[in-house]
């Protein structure tokens, strides 16, 4: 049920294994340019590759050249964030899996494990300002840590393999990786230890707590370990909810226009236009209620079932929408049909949102669906019946 956040950049330059001394210093190329302005985008370009704009240069290490990333986000990063949040091409925002560096890490520096979703990677690096650490990016097909852990792409298997392919044991001496706590659904600390020798320390849920977590000797307190779902966290998910339903909504709108044309003269195009507009207006009220308002105001709407919450807010929206179409513009039967359309579509979309929250259990969602899908089907059929009947 959980939809997958997905997400930007083409590959970073290949991280082939190049032997050399363990070097914490910037590479020669970068060293030479300390006086001239550094333009890694130009200076590290290779035919067939384009350097990611978040790479500042490369560190020469025992395990090869490792890209050093910036901890501040630039315009292109912000643009990609907006695109991802709007649900536009969100599966294309992925970065190349493997090792990255922030600051000037050495063999004693921590290794932070993350997913190759650009939004996730950006969230992580922007919190690491002033720190020196390694970032180990797993291949999750451009999906965030938690969803990927649920899908087992952010997994014990992928972590163990990635530790081996990047020769992590030659890069750091402490034998430890820090995995985001939400990765625990896919990563078993015991198994990783058994298969790679690396100790998994589960870090905080949110990247912004990493500096504090490190200062506390890698201890996450209860607050750091608890998932939140604040007003803003809910609101920011709504554009994707809307993007996901564009197609079904368009189809529904066309169907509404067609059935709105049915009347005493069998079918009237002018009636399809005028009545169709009214029906689409009530549909949009339901969408606004179910996909935007219910998710955003979730804890303030009564009932635990999302479908029920959707009925409540849909009812309010239907009442408000009815004011615009009160008699004589439309009869009572027509308004009942249209209101039912708003309430039912609101309920369906609100229930859809169970897949986007961090606290709904699949067993609960299943129970809710079993109860409400039949009611929603009856609601839609009744709405259609009342609406057609009202034309006669």
């Amino acid at each position: 049920m959980k939809p997958f956040d997905s997400g930007c950049c083409g590959g970073s330059v290949e991280q082939g294994k190049i032997s050399g001394s363990l070097l914490i210093q910037p590479s020669m190329e970068e060293f030479k340019k300390t006086e001239a302005p550094i333009d890694p985008l130009k200076d590290h370009d290779k035919p067939g590759y384009r350097l990611c704009s978040f790479v500042r240069g490369f560190l020469k290490t025992d395990v090869g050249l490792i890209p050093r990333v910036k901890t501040d986000l630039d315009k292109s990063d912000l643009l990609s964030t907006v695109m991802i949040r709007a649900g536009i091409k969100r599966h294309d925002y992925r970065i190349s899996p493997g090792l990255y560096a922030v600051g000037t890490p050495d063999k004693y520096s921590e290794v932070l494990v993350t997913a190759n979703f650009k939004l996730t990677f950006d969230h992580l690096r922007r919190e690491l300002n002033g720190l020196s650490a390694w970032i180990l990016v797993l291949d999750t097909n451009g999906v965030n840590v938690w969803c990927a852990a649920g899908k087992k792409t952010f997994s014990t298997h992928e972590l163990v393999n990635r530790i081996k392919t990047v020769s992590l044991s030659e890069l750091v001496t402490h034998g430890r990786v820090i995995v985001p706590q939400l990765g625990a659904t896919g990563v078993s600390a015991v198994e990783v230890k058994k298969r790679s020798g690396f100790e998994v320390v589960f870090g905080p849920v949110r990247a912004k707590d990493i500096p504090l977590f490190l200062r506390n000797n890698r201890k996450a307190d209860e607050r750091m370990r608890t998932v939140t779902f604040s007003f803003f966290e809910r609101l920011i998910l709504t554009p994707v909810e809307l993007k996901l339903i564009v197609k079904p909504v368009l189809i529904t709108a066309i169907v509404l226009f067609v059935i709105s044309g049915i009347g005493p003269g069998l079918f009237s195009i002018s009636q399809a236009g005028s009545r169709g507009l009214a029906a689409v207006f009530f549909l949009f009220a339901g969408i606004l209620s179910g996909a935007v308002i219910t998710p955003t105001f979730l804890p303030f709407i009564p009932f635990r079932e999302f479908a029920a919450k959707g009925i409540i807010s849909g009812g309010i929206f239907a009442a408000v929408a009815s004011i615009f179409f009160s008699p004589p513009m439309a009869g009572t039967t027509a308004l009942m049909g249209l209101s039912l359309l708003t309430v039912t579509s609101s309920s369906i979309l609100a229930m859809q949102f169970t897949g986007a929250t961090p606290f709904t259990s699949p067993s609960g969602v299943e129970k809710e669906m079993r109860r409400f899908i039949p009611a929603q089907a009856v609601g839609l059929l009744s709405a259609t019946g009342l609406w057609i009947y009202s034309a006669f």
């Binding site: 659904t185 589960f202 998932v227 635990r304 929250t357 606290f359 259990s361 699949p362 609960g364 809710e368």
Partner: protein
């Protein structure tokens, strides 16, 4: 999370205390503080907060925890 709660008594989370070795990993990885650790044994203190993510099951070294979220 105390403000947002989902349905009661639906979680399929089960803990077998006889198998528990008290390592505390379940309490550490749970994003909703479902577990507590007392007298060297884990216990479920907030079943209704469980979202069946499976982090505890995946990390329990003694297979003392089960969850069956179905196809969800």
């Amino acid at each position: 999370m105390t403000a947002l709660r989902y349905l009661k008594q639906v979680s399929t989370l089960r803990l077998n205390e006889d198998l528990c070795i008290g390592c505390g990993l379940c309490a550490q990885v749970c994003p909703h503080q479902v577990f507590t650790l007392e007298n060297g044994k884990a216990g479920i203190i907030d079943l209704d907060a469980c979202m069946e993510c499976g982090a505890c099951v995946n990390n329990c070294p003694s297979k003392a925890i089960e969850v069956h979220p179905g196809v969800g």
